[in-house]
Amino acid sequence: MTAPTESETLLEVTDLRTRFRTPAGTVRAVDGVSLTLDRGRTLGIVGESGSGKSVLSRSIMGLLPKRNVTCEGSIVYDGREISSLPPAERRKLWGADMAMVFQDPMTALNPVIRIGRQITEGLRFHLGLDRRTANENALALLRSVGIPEPERRMKQYPHELSGGMRQRIMIAVALACGPKLLFADEPTTALDVTVQAQILNLLARQQRERNMAMVLVTHDLGVVAGRADDIAVMYAGQIVEKAPTATLFANVRMPYTEALLASIPKLDEPRRTRLKAIPGRPPSLIDPPPGCRFAPRCPYAQERCHREAPPLRESEPGHVYRCWYPVGVEPRRDGAADRTDTPTPTGAR
């Protein structure tokens, strides 16, 4: 349980901008992202490939490449501004404060080091445990992430395990020092649906038991719908809509979110109905469109959208979106979004 004196807010990111200098030009991978996360809560970050989800998580963790990168903006973690800390200081936060489960467990685990040492190393370094205690903790951890015969697994190498098992190990490594904040970057994308469900449930259980906050990154709205407290939708390096999960699904404002939801084949729809595809594809991050970044693909786009970038507006407490002509706000003409937005009755469908 959190001490009463602690503030509820664990993470507050303001106007984060991460850019990569490449031969083709400057890639604006994260372009003005702000978000807050309370202790013990889950924020789902959804977006298509290349929208900047991983770079956002890595920027907050302080895990960016050393060269040809700039990262600006404020990151306040547990009441402390960390964006200006030198890399060595940032690294001290890894493990006991923040940890990450990576998109690809095979590249994140060291292939030539036994599983056991990969877990105990962090425990000894960060928590200063001796070898025996670290070993005992590691065994308990492996058990808690559902790994049978943990003693045997400790002596194995990553390639000797199945994909689902490796992802459990990654989770065990990330949880080893009891982080307050966990970034799970598409922890299940490489896995089959049945294993994906096991892993997501495991993460949820661990999170409840530890009152740990989690940033759950995915391209699948289905994965976060039943699991995140809030959802942020990313498009071309920006958050284009963010809201408490139930609110987002009940009162979608951003046409991109609407289009994304409509393009998913659903189990409860009649078969072989035509899918509502989004034409075209996401824009270049080197030279994004001047107005709304979704305008070239948006069914509601008007002249203003191509000219002027819409700011992030609030439609109800905690619900923000980036659109001149938001969904569900009539009439759809210039300035429509300035009107007070009366939310339609929310409802657990």
Binding site: E48, S49, P148, E149, H159, E160, L161, S162, G164, M165, D192, V193, T194, V195, Q196, A197, Q198, L200, N201, A204, R205, H219, D220, L221, G222, V223, A225, G226, R227, T245, A246, L248, F249, A259, L260, L261, S263, I264, P265, K266, L267, E269, R271, R272, T273, R274, L275, K276, A277, I278, P279, R281, A348, R349
Partner: protein, 372 residues
């Protein structure tokens, strides 16, 4: 050869493609990978058969074995009444013009050094279909049909296109020789959802326009349900359940189908993911698949009989067939004798599953270990 049965096959004269007791094994040291172990499927003209199952269950191997790439270890593949397993040389190549496979990875299956126009014209040149200007017209038509601007696309190379566009190019290439049947191996799995819908709609249009029959391989059940007129669910080299998608999705008969359906994340916050329905354990190794029913090591309904005896495919509805001793639907018989777990006895259910997952795990790692 103990297959999983053929009760689900329709009369042969009604089908365009008929695969019976297909077996594909790969050598692995002194052992064998049992990739496909007695699969039977058939496809009627105009149907879209959805072949679904998790990674490694043998979907691609089945697709490739149908076009004899490589030739299956045993079993029969009949296309338009011709047995393909005995064919070779020109005769086989001739059949392959009418029976096309779009490979799982579109980008690596397109020659990076050649222009898109040449890639598409190549099959026409090889088969001497039409003169140069006719070939060019055909290439342009195919590019246009898959939604690419021929003027822009013809002279570019594959790496200049996105994943979704490469998928369109592979589809265009498969169309060049006007095939009867196309096997699409995971045509949308690598694509973003917004682009995935474009390709699914495209396949639907092309099917109409060219009177195509499709075999659609995928691991996403929602996608498969969307496109298919018939569905076949695979697990570890065997078929579990075959039939009408509405029947199967409405009330799955095989415990594996049920688990797969329960694992699909639903984009609706009112649907809370449920720990109860989640399948435990990992896929056993195909080097040493479990005896009896291959699903038994992870199955919540498994009993002794499942280890001793392999379940044969049988009907549980007008167009629903299942290979399971204790299916979730079905009139009386074995279904009535289902284990206590089915009646909501949580404890029995849990312990059966726990035991199952441990066994599954043992099998899997032993296989991996000695392989390494």
């Amino acid at each position: 050869m103990a297959g999983t049965g053929t009760a689900h096959l329709r009369p042969e004269d009604e089908t365009l493609l008929r695969v019976q007791d297909l077996v594909v094994e790969f050598p692995a040291g002194r052992r064998k990978v049992h990739a496909v172990s007695g699969v039977s499927i058939d496809v009627r003209r105009g149907e879209t058969l959805g072949l679904v199952g998790e990674s490694g269950c043998g979907k691609s191997t089945t697709g490739k074995a149908i076009i004899q790439l490589p030739r299956p270890t045993s079993g029969s593949v009949r296309f338009e009444g011709t047995e393909l397993t005995g064919l070779s040389g020109k005769k086989l190549r001739d059949v392959r013009t009418r029976l096309q496979l779009i490979f799982q990875d579109p980008i690596s299956s397109l020659n990076p050094r050649r222009k898109v126009g040449d890639i598409l014209a190549e099959p026409l040149r090889i088969w001497r279909r039409g003169d140069r200007s006719e070939q060019l017209a055909k290439v342009r038509e195919a590019l246009d049909a898959v939604g690419l601007d021929p003027d822009v696309a013809m002279d570019k190379r594959p790496h200049q296109f996105s994943g979704g566009q490469c998928q369109r190019i592979s589809i265009a290439r498969a169309l060049m020789l006007e095939p009867e049947l196309i096997i699409c191996d995971e045509p949308v799995s690598a694509l973003d959802v917004s682009v995935q819908a474009q390709i699914l709609n495209l396949l639907d249009d092309l099917k109409e326009r060219y009177d195509l029959t499709l075999v659609f391989i995928a691991h996403d059940l929602a996608v498969v349900r969307h496109v298919s007129t018939r569905v076949a669910v695979m697990y570890l080299g065997k078929l579990c359940e075959v039939g009408d998608p509405d029947a199967i999705y409405e009330s799955p008969a095989h415990p594996y189908t049920a688990a797969l359906l329960a694992s699909i994340p639903v984009p609706d916050p009112a649907v809370r993911p449920d720990d109860e329905d989640v399948l435990g354990g990992d896929l056993p190794s195909p080097l040493d698949p479990p005896s009896g029913c291959r699903f038994r090591t992870r199955c919540p309904r498994a009993r002794e009989r499942c280890a001793a005896e392999e379940p044969e495919m049988r009907a549980v509805g007008p167009d629903q067939f299942v290979a399971c001793h204790f299916p979730l639907v079905g009139e009386g018989g074995d279904g009535a004798g289902a284990p206590a777990a089915a009646d909501g006895d949580g404890h029995a259910d849990q312990s059966a599953r726990a035991a199952g997952s441990e066994r599954a795990d043992g099998d899997g790692s032993d296989g991996d270990g000695s392989d390494a």
